[in-house]
Protein backbone atom coordinates (compact mmCIF):
# COMPACT_ATOMS: atom_id res chain seq x y z
CA UNK A 1 0.00 0.00 0.00
CA UNK A 2 1.49 3.33 -1.09
CA UNK A 3 0.43 6.77 0.09
CA UNK A 4 1.67 10.02 -1.41
CA UNK A 5 0.57 13.42 -0.21
CA UNK A 6 0.91 16.37 -2.57
CA UNK A 7 -0.44 19.86 -2.87
CA UNK A 8 -2.24 20.31 -6.18
CA UNK A 9 -4.15 23.46 -7.21
CA UNK A 10 -4.40 24.64 -3.61
CA UNK A 11 -5.80 21.32 -2.37
CA UNK A 12 -4.05 18.70 -0.29
CA UNK A 13 -4.24 15.47 -2.25
CA UNK A 14 -3.55 12.02 -0.80
CA UNK A 15 -2.88 9.52 -3.57
CA UNK A 16 -3.54 5.93 -2.51
CA UNK A 17 -2.29 2.89 -4.36
CA UNK A 18 -2.91 -0.77 -3.58
CA UNK A 19 -5.13 -2.66 -1.14
CA UNK A 20 -6.18 -0.85 2.01
CA UNK A 21 -6.83 -3.98 4.00
CA UNK A 22 -6.53 -4.60 7.75
CA UNK A 23 -2.82 -5.45 7.47
CA UNK A 24 -2.02 -2.19 5.69
CA UNK A 25 -4.26 -0.01 7.87
CA UNK A 26 -1.82 1.02 10.61
CA UNK A 27 0.89 2.03 8.15
CA UNK A 28 -1.62 3.84 5.93
CA UNK A 29 -3.12 5.70 8.87
CA UNK A 30 0.34 6.94 9.82
CA UNK A 31 1.11 7.96 6.24
CA UNK A 32 -2.18 9.87 6.00
CA UNK A 33 -1.87 11.53 9.41
CA UNK A 34 -0.55 14.85 7.95
CA UNK A 35 -4.07 15.32 6.58
CA UNK A 36 -5.24 15.90 10.15
CA UNK A 37 -3.11 19.05 10.27
CA UNK A 38 -4.64 20.56 7.13
CA UNK A 39 -6.38 23.87 7.71
CA UNK A 40 -8.07 26.18 5.26
CA UNK A 41 -7.65 23.80 2.34
CA UNK A 42 -9.78 21.02 0.90
CA UNK A 43 -8.58 17.45 1.13
CA UNK A 44 -8.85 15.14 -1.84
CA UNK A 45 -8.30 11.41 -1.36
CA UNK A 46 -7.41 10.12 -4.79
CA UNK A 47 -8.51 6.48 -4.92
CA UNK A 48 -7.96 5.96 -8.64
CA UNK A 49 -5.35 3.27 -7.89
CA UNK A 50 -7.00 1.94 -4.73
CA UNK A 51 -8.11 -1.61 -5.44
CA UNK A 52 -9.78 -2.50 -2.15
CA UNK A 53 -10.86 -0.95 1.13
CA UNK A 54 -11.62 -2.75 4.39
CA UNK A 55 -13.45 -1.58 7.51
CA UNK A 56 -10.11 -0.43 8.90
CA UNK A 57 -9.67 1.73 5.79
CA UNK A 58 -13.16 3.16 6.20
CA UNK A 59 -12.30 4.11 9.78
CA UNK A 60 -9.23 6.01 8.57
CA UNK A 61 -11.34 7.91 6.01
CA UNK A 62 -14.00 8.65 8.63
CA UNK A 63 -11.40 9.94 11.07
CA UNK A 64 -9.97 12.29 8.43
CA UNK A 65 -13.49 13.48 7.54
CA UNK A 66 -14.43 14.08 11.17
CA UNK A 67 -11.26 16.06 11.77
CA UNK A 68 -11.67 18.17 8.62
CA UNK A 69 -15.34 18.89 9.28
CA UNK A 70 -14.55 20.09 12.80
CA UNK A 71 -12.34 22.73 11.14
CA UNK A 72 -14.94 23.58 8.49
CA UNK A 73 -13.04 21.74 5.75
CA UNK A 74 -14.15 19.38 3.00
CA UNK A 75 -12.94 15.91 2.12
CA UNK A 76 -13.49 14.72 -1.42
CA UNK A 77 -12.99 11.19 -2.62
CA UNK A 78 -11.86 10.91 -6.19
CA UNK A 79 -11.78 8.12 -8.71
CA UNK A 80 -13.04 5.13 -6.69
CA UNK A 81 -13.61 1.87 -8.51
CA UNK A 82 -16.88 -0.09 -8.34
CA UNK A 83 -15.68 -2.42 -5.57
CA UNK A 84 -14.68 0.41 -3.29
CA UNK A 85 -17.89 2.30 -4.09
CA UNK A 86 -19.88 -0.82 -3.16
CA UNK A 87 -18.21 -0.86 0.26
CA UNK A 88 -19.22 2.76 0.88
CA UNK A 89 -22.75 2.03 -0.26
CA UNK A 90 -23.56 -1.16 1.61
CA UNK A 91 -22.19 0.29 4.85
CA UNK A 92 -24.33 3.42 4.48
CA UNK A 93 -21.44 5.86 4.13
CA UNK A 94 -22.00 6.84 0.51
CA UNK A 95 -23.73 10.11 1.36
CA UNK A 96 -21.35 11.05 4.14
CA UNK A 97 -18.45 11.79 1.82
CA UNK A 98 -18.36 13.99 -1.22
CA UNK A 99 -17.30 12.07 -4.32
CA UNK A 100 -15.61 13.61 -7.33
Amino acid sequence: MNVRIEEIDGNVVAILEGNLDTAAAAETEKAMSPLNDVEGKDIIIDCTALAYISSAGLRIFLGILQNAQAKGGHVYIKGINDNVRAVFTITGFSNIFEFK
Binding site: S55, L58, R59, L62, R85, A86, T89, I90, G92
Partner: protein, 341 residues
Protein backbone atom coordinates in the same frame (compact mmCIF):
# COMPACT_ATOMS: atom_id res chain seq x y z
CA UNK B 1 -9.31 69.60 32.20
CA UNK B 2 -11.86 66.88 31.42
CA UNK B 3 -9.75 65.74 28.48
CA UNK B 4 -6.69 65.49 30.71
CA UNK B 5 -8.67 63.40 33.21
CA UNK B 6 -9.84 61.20 30.31
CA UNK B 7 -6.27 60.61 29.11
CA UNK B 8 -5.16 59.56 32.58
CA UNK B 9 -8.14 57.29 32.97
CA UNK B 10 -7.85 55.63 29.56
CA UNK B 11 -5.88 52.50 30.62
CA UNK B 12 -8.43 51.90 33.41
CA UNK B 13 -11.26 52.35 30.93
CA UNK B 14 -9.74 49.83 28.51
CA UNK B 15 -9.41 47.31 31.33
CA UNK B 16 -12.97 47.97 32.43
CA UNK B 17 -14.26 47.57 28.87
CA UNK B 18 -12.60 44.16 28.52
CA UNK B 19 -13.63 42.98 31.97
CA UNK B 20 -17.28 44.01 31.69
CA UNK B 21 -17.48 42.49 28.20
CA UNK B 22 -15.99 39.17 29.31
CA UNK B 23 -18.18 39.00 32.42
CA UNK B 24 -21.37 39.60 30.48
CA UNK B 25 -20.44 37.39 27.55
CA UNK B 26 -19.70 34.53 29.92
CA UNK B 27 -22.99 35.02 31.83
CA UNK B 28 -25.04 35.13 28.60
CA UNK B 29 -23.38 31.96 27.37
CA UNK B 30 -24.01 30.25 30.69
CA UNK B 31 -27.70 31.17 30.54
CA UNK B 32 -27.93 29.88 26.95
CA UNK B 33 -28.98 33.23 25.50
CA UNK B 34 -28.22 33.40 21.80
CA UNK B 35 -27.41 36.88 20.65
CA UNK B 36 -26.62 38.36 17.26
CA UNK B 37 -23.60 40.31 18.40
CA UNK B 38 -21.91 41.91 21.34
CA UNK B 39 -19.68 44.94 21.05
CA UNK B 40 -17.55 46.96 23.45
CA UNK B 41 -15.47 50.08 23.09
CA UNK B 42 -13.79 52.90 24.93
CA UNK B 43 -14.95 56.30 23.73
CA UNK B 44 -12.33 57.92 21.51
CA UNK B 45 -10.88 61.28 22.43
CA UNK B 46 -12.37 62.75 19.25
CA UNK B 47 -15.82 61.49 20.12
CA UNK B 48 -15.50 62.79 23.68
CA UNK B 49 -14.47 66.20 22.37
CA UNK B 50 -17.56 66.27 20.18
CA UNK B 51 -19.73 65.38 23.13
CA UNK B 52 -18.14 68.01 25.37
CA UNK B 53 -18.63 70.59 22.66
CA UNK B 54 -22.34 69.83 22.56
CA UNK B 55 -23.06 69.26 26.25
CA UNK B 56 -19.92 70.59 27.97
CA UNK B 57 -21.46 72.55 30.85
CA UNK B 58 -23.39 69.47 31.97
CA UNK B 59 -20.18 67.71 33.03
CA UNK B 60 -18.28 68.83 36.13
CA UNK B 61 -15.86 65.91 36.19
CA UNK B 62 -14.96 63.05 33.83
CA UNK B 63 -16.96 60.72 36.10
CA UNK B 64 -20.12 62.50 34.99
CA UNK B 65 -19.66 61.15 31.45
CA UNK B 66 -21.32 57.76 31.73
CA UNK B 67 -20.55 56.31 28.31
CA UNK B 68 -16.75 56.47 28.30
CA UNK B 69 -16.99 52.69 28.17
CA UNK B 70 -19.85 51.28 26.14
CA UNK B 71 -21.11 47.75 25.72
CA UNK B 72 -23.82 46.78 23.30
CA UNK B 73 -25.74 43.53 23.17
CA UNK B 74 -27.80 42.87 20.06
CA UNK B 75 -30.43 40.16 20.38
CA UNK B 76 -32.63 38.34 17.90
CA UNK B 77 -35.90 38.82 19.78
CA UNK B 78 -37.46 41.61 21.84
CA UNK B 79 -38.03 39.43 24.90
CA UNK B 80 -34.34 38.57 24.90
CA UNK B 81 -33.52 42.24 25.49
CA UNK B 82 -35.30 41.89 28.83
CA UNK B 83 -33.48 38.63 29.58
CA UNK B 84 -30.12 40.31 28.94
CA UNK B 85 -31.24 43.18 31.16
CA UNK B 86 -32.15 40.76 33.97
CA UNK B 87 -28.71 39.20 33.74
CA UNK B 88 -27.04 42.63 33.70
CA UNK B 89 -28.96 43.58 36.87
CA UNK B 90 -27.49 40.55 38.59
CA UNK B 91 -23.96 41.09 37.28
CA UNK B 92 -23.57 44.84 37.78
CA UNK B 93 -24.75 47.65 40.04
CA UNK B 94 -27.20 49.70 38.00
CA UNK B 95 -27.50 53.44 38.35
CA UNK B 96 -31.28 53.72 38.00
CA UNK B 97 -31.22 57.52 37.97
CA UNK B 98 -29.22 57.53 34.76
CA UNK B 99 -30.57 54.37 33.10
CA UNK B 100 -33.31 54.71 30.55
CA UNK B 101 -35.68 52.41 28.72
CA UNK B 102 -36.10 54.26 25.45
CA UNK B 103 -38.73 51.73 24.39
CA UNK B 104 -41.07 53.26 26.93
CA UNK B 105 -40.38 56.90 26.15
CA UNK B 106 -42.49 57.06 23.02
CA UNK B 107 -45.96 58.50 23.07
CA UNK B 108 -48.77 56.23 21.92
CA UNK B 109 -48.67 57.74 18.45
CA UNK B 110 -44.91 58.05 17.96
CA UNK B 111 -42.12 55.72 16.94
CA UNK B 112 -38.37 56.03 16.96
CA UNK B 113 -35.25 54.88 18.75
CA UNK B 114 -35.98 51.75 20.77
CA UNK B 115 -33.23 50.56 23.02
CA UNK B 116 -32.68 49.80 26.67
CA UNK B 117 -29.75 51.68 28.22
CA UNK B 118 -28.34 50.83 31.63
CA UNK B 119 -25.63 52.80 33.35
CA UNK B 120 -23.69 50.19 35.26
CA UNK B 121 -20.76 49.78 37.59
CA UNK B 122 -18.81 46.61 38.30
CA UNK B 123 -19.65 45.09 41.69
CA UNK B 124 -16.01 45.69 42.54
CA UNK B 125 -16.37 49.43 41.90
CA UNK B 126 -14.60 51.64 39.34
CA UNK B 127 -15.97 54.02 36.71
CA UNK B 128 -19.50 53.68 35.36
CA UNK B 129 -20.17 52.35 31.88
CA UNK B 130 -23.11 52.21 29.53
CA UNK B 131 -24.78 48.99 28.43
CA UNK B 132 -27.10 49.23 25.43
CA UNK B 133 -29.46 46.36 24.71
CA UNK B 134 -31.56 46.17 21.55
CA UNK B 135 -32.79 43.80 18.88
CA UNK B 136 -31.07 43.34 15.54
CA UNK B 137 -33.84 45.27 13.79
CA UNK B 138 -33.63 48.13 16.28
CA UNK B 139 -29.88 48.12 15.77
CA UNK B 140 -30.17 48.35 11.99
CA UNK B 141 -32.68 51.17 12.29
CA UNK B 142 -30.67 53.19 14.77
CA UNK B 143 -27.39 52.66 12.92
CA UNK B 144 -28.83 53.88 9.64
CA UNK B 145 -30.72 56.69 11.37
CA UNK B 146 -27.57 57.77 13.15
CA UNK B 147 -25.49 57.59 9.99
CA UNK B 148 -28.00 59.55 7.93
CA UNK B 149 -29.55 61.90 10.45
CA UNK B 150 -26.63 63.14 12.49
CA UNK B 151 -24.14 64.13 9.86
CA UNK B 152 -24.83 67.68 11.04
CA UNK B 153 -23.93 69.48 7.83
CA UNK B 154 -27.52 69.70 6.58
CA UNK B 155 -30.69 69.68 8.68
CA UNK B 156 -32.83 66.70 7.73
CA UNK B 157 -36.25 67.93 6.58
CA UNK B 158 -39.30 66.81 8.60
CA UNK B 159 -40.64 64.78 5.71
CA UNK B 160 -37.58 62.51 5.81
CA UNK B 161 -37.60 62.32 9.60
CA UNK B 162 -41.18 61.11 9.30
CA UNK B 163 -40.00 58.38 6.89
CA UNK B 164 -37.43 57.22 9.46
CA UNK B 165 -40.07 57.11 12.14
CA UNK B 166 -42.42 55.15 9.90
CA UNK B 167 -39.63 52.60 9.43
CA UNK B 168 -39.12 52.47 13.20
CA UNK B 169 -42.81 51.59 13.53
CA UNK B 170 -42.39 48.89 10.94
CA UNK B 171 -39.30 47.50 12.72
CA UNK B 172 -41.26 47.43 15.99
CA UNK B 173 -44.08 45.56 14.28
CA UNK B 174 -41.63 43.07 12.74
CA UNK B 175 -39.91 42.52 16.10
CA UNK B 176 -43.28 41.76 17.71
CA UNK B 177 -44.26 39.44 14.85
CA UNK B 178 -40.96 37.54 15.03
CA UNK B 179 -41.45 37.07 18.77
CA UNK B 180 -45.05 35.98 18.28
CA UNK B 181 -44.03 33.56 15.54
CA UNK B 182 -41.34 32.09 17.76
CA UNK B 183 -43.85 31.51 20.55
CA UNK B 184 -46.31 29.89 18.14
CA UNK B 185 -43.61 27.63 16.69
CA UNK B 186 -42.32 26.68 20.14
CA UNK B 187 -45.88 25.69 21.14
CA UNK B 188 -46.30 23.75 17.91
CA UNK B 189 -43.04 21.88 18.47
CA UNK B 190 -44.02 21.08 22.05
CA UNK B 191 -47.43 19.77 21.01
CA UNK B 192 -45.92 17.74 18.19
CA UNK B 193 -43.32 16.22 20.46
CA UNK B 194 -46.09 15.30 22.91
CA UNK B 195 -48.00 13.58 20.10
CA UNK B 196 -44.86 11.74 19.00
CA UNK B 197 -44.16 10.63 22.57
CA UNK B 198 -47.75 9.52 23.13
CA UNK B 199 -47.53 7.43 19.97
CA UNK B 200 -50.27 9.31 18.07
CA UNK B 201 -48.05 9.39 15.01
CA UNK B 202 -50.86 9.53 12.45
CA UNK B 203 -51.72 12.98 13.79
CA UNK B 204 -48.21 14.32 13.21
CA UNK B 205 -47.37 15.68 9.77
CA UNK B 206 -43.98 14.70 8.43
CA UNK B 207 -41.65 17.70 8.45
CA UNK B 208 -38.08 18.51 9.33
CA UNK B 209 -39.00 19.36 12.93
CA UNK B 210 -41.31 16.42 13.51
CA UNK B 211 -38.91 13.95 11.90
CA UNK B 212 -36.16 15.24 14.18
CA UNK B 213 -38.43 14.73 17.22
CA UNK B 214 -39.33 11.28 15.95
CA UNK B 215 -35.65 10.36 15.71
CA UNK B 216 -35.39 10.95 19.47
CA UNK B 217 -37.42 7.73 19.78
CA UNK B 218 -34.59 5.92 17.91
CA UNK B 219 -36.95 4.24 15.47
CA UNK B 220 -34.14 2.69 13.40
CA UNK B 221 -32.04 1.40 16.30
CA UNK B 222 -33.53 -2.07 16.42
CA UNK B 223 -33.02 -2.74 12.73
CA UNK B 224 -29.56 -1.15 12.79
CA UNK B 225 -28.56 -3.48 15.62
CA UNK B 226 -29.95 -6.51 13.78
CA UNK B 227 -28.00 -5.58 10.66
CA UNK B 228 -24.85 -4.82 12.69
CA UNK B 229 -25.11 -8.22 14.36
CA UNK B 230 -24.38 -9.87 11.00
CA UNK B 231 -20.70 -8.94 11.30
CA UNK B 232 -20.65 -7.73 14.93
CA UNK B 233 -20.23 -4.29 13.42
CA UNK B 234 -19.74 -0.96 15.12
CA UNK B 235 -22.48 1.58 14.34
CA UNK B 236 -21.00 4.96 13.41
CA UNK B 237 -23.42 7.78 14.23
CA UNK B 238 -24.34 10.03 11.32
CA UNK B 239 -27.33 12.27 10.64
CA UNK B 240 -30.38 10.53 9.21
CA UNK B 241 -32.02 13.83 8.27
CA UNK B 242 -30.73 13.59 4.70
CA UNK B 243 -33.24 10.76 4.16
CA UNK B 244 -36.24 13.01 4.83
CA UNK B 245 -36.55 14.03 1.15
CA UNK B 246 -36.51 10.32 0.27
CA UNK B 247 -39.43 9.58 2.61
CA UNK B 248 -41.27 12.59 1.21
CA UNK B 249 -40.64 11.32 -2.31
CA UNK B 250 -42.38 8.09 -1.28
CA UNK B 251 -45.47 10.21 -0.62
CA UNK B 252 -45.28 9.93 3.16
CA UNK B 253 -47.13 12.75 4.88
CA UNK B 254 -47.30 11.67 8.51
CA UNK B 255 -45.01 10.03 11.04
CA UNK B 256 -47.60 7.26 11.25
CA UNK B 257 -46.83 6.38 7.64
CA UNK B 258 -43.09 6.37 8.44
CA UNK B 259 -43.70 4.03 11.37
CA UNK B 260 -45.73 1.64 9.18
CA UNK B 261 -43.01 1.82 6.51
CA UNK B 262 -40.54 0.63 9.15
CA UNK B 263 -42.83 -2.05 10.55
CA UNK B 264 -43.79 -3.45 7.15
CA UNK B 265 -40.31 -3.49 5.60
CA UNK B 266 -37.89 -4.24 8.44
CA UNK B 267 -37.76 -7.98 7.89
CA UNK B 268 -37.06 -7.65 4.18
CA UNK B 269 -34.56 -4.83 4.78
CA UNK B 270 -32.73 -7.13 7.17
CA UNK B 271 -32.69 -9.88 4.54
CA UNK B 272 -31.34 -7.52 1.89
CA UNK B 273 -28.64 -6.18 4.23
CA UNK B 274 -27.74 -9.73 5.19
CA UNK B 275 -27.31 -10.70 1.55
CA UNK B 276 -24.89 -7.78 1.10
CA UNK B 277 -22.92 -7.90 4.32
CA UNK B 278 -22.68 -11.59 5.15
CA UNK B 279 -20.26 -12.16 2.29
CA UNK B 280 -17.94 -9.43 3.61
CA UNK B 281 -16.03 -8.82 6.83
CA UNK B 282 -17.16 -5.20 7.06
CA UNK B 283 -17.57 -4.40 10.72
CA UNK B 284 -18.45 -0.72 10.61
CA UNK B 285 -21.82 0.65 9.50
CA UNK B 286 -23.31 4.11 9.48
CA UNK B 287 -26.39 4.69 11.61
CA UNK B 288 -28.41 5.35 8.46
CA UNK B 289 -27.81 1.82 7.17
CA UNK B 290 -31.20 0.55 8.40
CA UNK B 291 -33.04 3.41 6.75
CA UNK B 292 -31.09 2.94 3.54
CA UNK B 293 -32.09 -0.73 3.28
CA UNK B 294 -35.70 0.10 4.23
CA UNK B 295 -35.80 2.57 1.37
CA UNK B 296 -34.26 0.07 -1.07
CA UNK B 297 -36.85 -2.55 -0.13
CA UNK B 298 -39.67 -0.04 -0.41
CA UNK B 299 -38.59 0.92 -3.95
CA UNK B 300 -38.24 -2.70 -5.03
CA UNK B 301 -41.60 -3.69 -3.53
CA UNK B 302 -43.24 -0.85 -5.41
CA UNK B 303 -41.85 -2.12 -8.71
CA UNK B 304 -39.29 0.63 -8.92
CA UNK B 305 -36.74 -1.81 -10.34
CA UNK B 306 -33.27 -0.77 -11.33
CA UNK B 307 -34.33 2.73 -12.41
CA UNK B 308 -36.12 3.25 -9.09
CA UNK B 309 -32.97 2.27 -7.22
CA UNK B 310 -30.90 4.61 -9.36
CA UNK B 311 -33.34 7.46 -8.60
CA UNK B 312 -33.17 6.60 -4.91
CA UNK B 313 -29.37 6.75 -4.91
CA UNK B 314 -29.55 10.00 -6.88
CA UNK B 315 -31.62 11.43 -4.03
CA UNK B 316 -29.34 10.05 -1.32
CA UNK B 317 -25.94 10.68 -2.90
CA UNK B 318 -26.69 13.39 -5.43
CA UNK B 319 -27.04 12.62 -9.11
CA UNK B 320 -24.13 10.78 -10.76
CA UNK B 321 -23.55 7.93 -13.16
CA UNK B 322 -21.99 5.73 -10.49
CA UNK B 323 -25.41 5.46 -8.84
CA UNK B 324 -26.46 3.35 -11.83
CA UNK B 325 -23.62 0.92 -11.17
CA UNK B 326 -24.58 0.64 -7.49
CA UNK B 327 -28.24 0.18 -8.47
CA UNK B 328 -27.26 -2.70 -10.80
CA UNK B 329 -25.25 -4.31 -8.00
CA UNK B 330 -28.10 -3.97 -5.51
CA UNK B 331 -30.63 -5.29 -8.04
CA UNK B 332 -28.46 -8.34 -8.65
CA UNK B 333 -28.34 -9.17 -4.93
CA UNK B 334 -32.00 -8.41 -4.29
CA UNK B 335 -33.52 -10.54 -7.04
CA UNK B 336 -32.95 -13.78 -5.15
CA UNK B 337 -34.75 -12.57 -2.01
CA UNK B 338 -38.26 -13.79 -1.09
CA UNK B 339 -39.92 -10.37 -1.23
CA UNK B 340 -38.91 -10.05 -4.89
CA UNK B 341 -40.75 -13.19 -5.92
Amino acid sequence: MLLQQYRELRPTLQKLSDEAYNLLRHALREQGIYITAMEHRVKTEKSLMGKLELKGPKYKSIDDVTDLVGLRVITFYTDEVDKVAAIAKRMFDIDWQESVDKRKLHKLDSFGYNSLHYICRLKTGGPRFELQMRTALQHVWSTIEHDTGYKGDVKVPDVYLRQFNRLAGMAELMDDEFSRLRTVLTDYRRQTLALVKSGKLDDVPLSRDTFRSYLELHPFDRLNKRIAAVNQAEIWPVSVMSYLPVLESFGMETLGQVQRFIDENSEDAHQLALSQLAITDLDILSSNTALQYLCLVYVLKHDGGRDGLKSLYDLINGENDANGIVADMMMEQAKTLPFMR
